[in-house]
Symmetry: C2
Subunit: 805 residues, 2 copies
């Protein structure tokens, strides 16, 4: 199965490959130059200390492999007029992909201050990893990149994400052998069971074994070839193994073998796609192909110094970063650097003006076919607005507050089905086998789960093509969606709330990417990354403690306010309105937490739209302050806390009718923050208007209570804000027992009111005791019957205190 090609390709002549080699040398020269030089870029004079950067920062080891692959891909892209995207798994090999972008002219198009001449070359070198310059990785600043690669593991999932619904696109994905040890990458191989061979594009995984990480060998470089190939076959690929460049092998020989393998792979991809298209046209089942995968084994730091200070460097971990560390102060190092640079024969590559020779320029594909210039790597260029059907058609009828019950996510699902119908080729829903569990099953009336493995009778809404991608890996869901968004499409990721922490780190990287792109003029805005977190902390009746964690919100708000949004719609209509908004936004991360269990509904559609537009507001029907200053503010954010707060209001009405209570509901959590801290933040004046400046505020919050303090600590009334939320108390138990365990229940909220409003504690000690007794009653009922007491399980407004007072 595996091929080690030995024949030169038919159509490529020796001189073609010599040109290709020259192009590769140019890219390598430009890479080394970026790492080392700040002057004398063309080596027109002997290298002096002041030509060398004082701080040498960058990663050489992976770079020559990246440029080698780029050069060979260019050969076939040009010939086949192929649309291609290059994913740089070893993203720290930034110099390599910056160099190729400059060689292809894209860099100078994006950055006019870095023209394709000697002056531009000097600036290209100087700016790299230099204060005020560009980062050392394949960053947002890098043309052609959608993948930073500083945090390893996500290359192949980004590649698949880019390929979905892009049938004409070839995504060449370079995977470092260090990265291949990570979990997310290891899970990514199964993407071939999800990519449709006609409707989706082609991903070509290129596992680049250069053998070493920072200071140690890699696992995959140290297992026998037969195991390596078994592994690739086991993942469903047809592996091609190419090894070259060791023991001083002439690169030309490697070029010849590589060109041959690349031709075979390209031909095979074409055959696979043609056959799948035939199957589809004939109405046959489209079978999962054995896509090719390339395993490339070359020395780490190939073409770099063989030995430095008596240590082997090329082909070892010592070439990971900067092989020659003292080139400014150590004359021998500097001489070796100059010698190294001259091995690329720059005088053959660049003309007197420092411009690459015309023959080299001619090797690059044209315009957007250049991988450095493909619009797929600047997704905003391709982005089409979603066609969003009228969500109000799915409004839940709310004759009065507290009616229902209805499932918020269930309601949303019906609208999402409409969204799917209206956007059949640029909207996808990702989830770890939880689409139905999170009650979005209505989308299956409009589409299926896409799966290119064996489908058998009894499978529920699984077919070859569908808008829903389900795989039990939050990493893949996140990575696929990121790749899909970064290439200009739309989607959402639905997930159990607790387990979204699995992708905390991926969120970080995407958030950082978005933050950086906001300051890069040529990067066009992309669709926001939308989370729908359901099966949340308060309703894990059958899974208990391990499934209870509302802390993703805390994690998210550490990132730049300009890209982060958090919504806690309390019912179905507010969820509809919120999600309609989220799907229209750009360049944000929207976190929406919503319950799936049937619950009481509070707002009519019109009220919901108005409330969501404000993001925060008084619910007059649950307040009796009549617009004047209340005695106490009950605030709430989240569906379960809202129910408890409203139920507390009804208790207060009955027992303390003279108390002036204001209920404030928060949908848009960032409204709590200062307007100077977050674009959605309320002014102090508005905040004070809602929360008063001196009255007690009892805040029933969905998550960890400290977050409310973190958001409001600058507010004038902060000392009076008392927050109830999840404090890591939980197990397999009933819904009301859960809120009681965390003191978020209605009875405890009433106790909090009594404790905090001046003058109530003594006068209403009996009522407070009654609340304590009510908690005990509920606790006992639950322990005995295994269910919540009926009055708390199916709460309705007590007749006497109905919502319309």
């Amino acid at each position: 199965m595996a091929v080690t090609a030995t024949n030169a390709p038919d159509t490529t002549t020796r001189s073609d490959l010599e040109l290709l080699d020259a192009w590769w040398r140019a890219a390598n020269y430009l890479s080394v130059g970026q790492i080392y030089l700040m002057d004398n870029p063309l080596l027109r004079e002997p290298l002096r200390p002041e030509h060398v950067k004082p701080r040498l920062l960058g990663h050489w080891g992976t770079t020559p492999g990246l440029t080698f692959l780029w050069a060979h891909l260019n050969r076939v892209i040009t010939r086949e007029e192929q649309d291609a995207l290059y994913i740089t798994g070893p993203g720290h090999g930034g110099p390599g992909v910056v160099a190729t972008a400059w060689l292809e002219g894209t860099y100078s198009e994006r950055y006019s201050q870095v023209p394709q001449d000697a002056e531009g070359m000097q600036e290209l070198f100087r700016q790299f990893s230099f204060p005020g310059g560009i980062p050392s990785h394949a960053a947002p600043e890098t043309p052609g990149s959608i993948h930073e690669g500083g945090e390893l593991g996500y290359s192949l999932m980004h590649a698949a994400g880019a390929a979905f619904d892009n049938p004409d696109l070839l995504v060449a994905c370079v995977i470092g052998d260090g990265e291949a040890e990570t979990g997310p990458l290891a899970a990514s191989w199964q993407q071939n069971k999800f990519l449709h061979p006609v409707h989706d594009g082609t991903v070509l995984p290129i596992l680049h074994l250069n053998g070493y990480k920072i200071a140690n060998s890699t696992v995959l470089a140290r297992i026998p070839d037969d195991e390596l190939l078994d592994q690739m076959r086991g993942h469903g690929y047809r592996p091609y193994l190419l090894e070259g460049g060791f023991d001083g092998e002439d690169p030309m020989a490697v070029h010849e073998r590589m060109a041959a393998v690349m031709d075979e792979i390209v031909a095979e991809i074409a055959r696979i796609r043609a056959r799948a298209a035939e199957q589809l046209a004939a109405g046959e089942d489209v079978q999962r192909p054995r896509w090719p995968a390339l395993v490339l084994r070359t020395p780490k730091g190939w073409t770099g110094p063989k030995e430095v200070d008596g240590h082997r460097v090329e082909g070892t971990f010592r070439s990971h970063q900067v092989p020659l560390a003292e080139t400014r102060t150590n004359e021998a190092h500097r001489a070796q650097l100059e010698q190294w640079l001259r091995t690329y024969r720059p005088e053959e590559l660049f003309d007197a003006d420092g411009r690459p020779h015309a023959e080299l320029l001619a090797l690059a594909p044209r315009g957007p076919k250049r991988m450095s210039a493909t619009p797929h790597a600047n997704g905003g260029e391709l982005l089409r607005d979603l066609r969003l059907p009228d969500f109000t058609r799915h409004a839940v009828d709310v004759p009065e507050p507290g009616s229902g019950p209805a499932s918020a996510t269930g309601t949303l699902g019906a609208w999402l089905a409409d969204v799917v119908r209206a956007n059949p080729d640029n909207f996808r829903i990702m989830g770890p086998d939880e689409t139905a569990s999170n009650r979005l099953q209505a989308v299956f009336e409009a589409t299926d789960r896409q799966f290119i493995g064996h489908i058998q009778s009894g499978d529920d809404h699984v077919s070859r093509a569908g808008r829903v991608l389900e795989v039990l890996s939050e990493h893949l869901c996140q990575g696929w969606l990121e790749g899909y968004l970064l290439t200009g499409r739309h989607g959402l990721f639905n997930c159990y709330e607790a387990f979204i922490h699995i992708v905390d780190s991926m969120f970080n990287q995407h958030a950082k990417w978005l933050t950086a792109t906001r300051h890069i003029p040529w990067r066009r805005p992309i669709a926001s990354l939308n989370y729908l977190l359901s099966s949340h902390v308060w309703r894990q009746d059958h899974n208990g403690f391990s499934h209870q964690d509302p802390g993703f919100i805390d994690h998210v708000v550490n990132k730049k306010a300009e890209i982060v949004r958090v919504y806690l719609p309390p019912d179905a209509n507010t969820l509809l309105s919120t999600y309609d908004h989220c799907l229209r936004t750009r360049n944000y991360v929207n976190v929406v937490v919503a319950g799936k269990n049937p619950g009481p509904q509070w707002l009519t559609m019109d009220e919901a739209i108005a409330h969501c537009t404000r993001g925060i507001g008084v619910w007059p029907w649950a307040s009796n302050d009549d617009g004047a200053e209340p005695d106490v503010v009950l605030a709430c954010a989240g569906d379960v806390p809202t129910l408890e707060a409203v139920a507390a209001v009804s208790l207060l009405r009955r027992h303390l009718p003279e108390l002036k209570v204001r209920l404030v509901n928060v949908v848009d959590l960032m409204r709590l923050q200062d307007e100077r801290e977050h674009p959605h933040g309320l002014s102090d004046r508005d905040f004070d208007g809602l929360f008063t400046t001196d009255k007690p505020v009892i805040f029933a919050y969905h998550g960890y209570p400290w977050l409310i303090h973190r958001l409001t600590y600058r507010r004038r009334n902060h000392p009076n804000i008392h927050v109830r939320g999840y404090k890591e108390e939980g197990t397999t138990t009933t819904p009301f027992d859960m809120v009681m365990l965390n003191d978020l229940d209605r009875f405890h909220l009433v106790m909090d009111v009594i404790d905090r409003v001046p003058g109530l504690a003594v006068k209403h000690a009996a009522l407070r005791q009654h609340m304590v007794d009510e908690r005990l009653r509920c606790r006992r009922y639950t322990r005995e019957h295994g269910t919540d007491a009926p009055d708390v399980a199916d709460w309705v407004w007590p007749d006497s205190t109905g919502p319309r007072m």
Copy 2:
């Protein structure tokens, strides 16, 4: 290679297997009973509605597979007198492992209120997933478990962690085919390149393909067998494939095949270990064996209802949770439940008192050989204190504050080498190829990286046996360490600060496990999970933005205060003292953040010990308040913020000598919190003593500034606390430019003092402008030279304001 055994084993008779089947039926009966019944446990009367629980919560689908494997493992454990540990990857199959623990008598030994009789059986049933009872998963409460399994992906890494340095232990690890889709599990297969076949125990991976997740098929169940087996071979295993129970196959036939396969596997493991021991004894290189791995394919919900309400249930995702949902209200469902329960023939399994028949009891291994009773699953029973060498021997000489420079982690590394030498069999260091990068390379004077793949010349401190485990997967580092700690050993995980977020979710689960175990009397305390986070946010000179995230601390402090500790030692001696403390603690998660770059040293060893013992304190040599009330408090936490704060003090001394400044350094971050919130929290009196009640506090903090507010918002002086920290500004740049980008630099701290101390702003406007100019000067220098200006790069106390005033 793959074996599908068809012959009955030689040594096991038909009647042995009939008994085994009875034991299995008993375990299944007890499992179904837990999910459904609250009364009539032995079905001595027809099932009535009130016998059935009102809320049916639990997962049936995976359970019969778990009990089947347990039964067959017991057969060989008993015969071989094998020490064994069972890891329940599908941990939500809790009823199964609770049932086997009860059958083996362990459950009643741990919980006297659940004896091995009819009354105990009723309690066993009632308590499951019942308020006030036990969780539905294989929880800390479950005897024999070290693995909750609610968050999928970590079974095989826990298994390997348990096996390290436990040569006599067999760890049978059941991996669900849902779990197998996750990244962490996919990465775990490479464990066989790290487990030593003589010094470490044996892990037997059992991939259980029951075909379905919650509502969808699994990927691995839908690929051809040859791919599946190639995958296992590619991972370096010898796979055994056993399929049974489909199309109504008699379980006895499956038992026969399973017994044969299990015998083969056990024999093969013995051969492998014997051969490795011979190699070792002969002084030969110990080769990596092809360990066996079992792929077991049985129907989901095997032996459960075949069909319910016209839908197929056994063998489909519909048996994932509760196959019969309305057994209390729907008479047909209830009848079907009774019929189902009776298929296990309880009258043959339990005597008149509800006690399992003696023949069944006799099948369990004896005492601690029972998997439910193994001390390896209650690691505290096996825990030996570390022998901790005197860390003061590694003290850095600090003739005066600001001397040095020295590397904190480099200094720690030398002591850790001593720890390794003194504890050759129960202490390990895990890291993602960053041990040297984090400057712990001194440990390689005492030990090597352990690796059972190909080792070649030039590899640096890599050998077959060593205390350091390096794999480029933070998931594996975390999971291996968890497994190692849970089975009673010690260790630490060193990691780049930013990428520890990769295991946020794993930390959550371990923290929850520790929280729960504190309330389970028979769970003995285990060693703390120790993080050493280095290569931190402020010193990512060559990696930039993607490598900058100090938010793990924020994540950690959301968990229960009783198990969470966070330390930010400012220099080498404080790091030594801190880590010595951490390695002595139990049942905590200790997060230690420390720099690796050479930096100024502040405290002598004696001072460091005293300071770390307090956790927070005034540095008198950096203060001039002479014990009286200062005009301003400069607080700092973390090495870089401490340097900036001290440098700010020196500027203030020079320019505003009359200003009374107090410098407070925080090592133990939890000291900031209220003593009612955290056991380490300061009393208000002590806090006020340090931070005053009304003076401005300028707080230079290592991480996101909001955390300091979250920890101190209840303090009297909170309104005057002004925090500088990381606010997501960063790129590839110099160290001082990084602190300037985030306004944490000394000049900005002085500006903050001028802005906040009443009376300074107008009077010292010129000084403020000077600070602004200083920042501009540094910025310009860096942009021009690519390095920090010498005076900020190599800061020393200016002569005139030396530390000893």
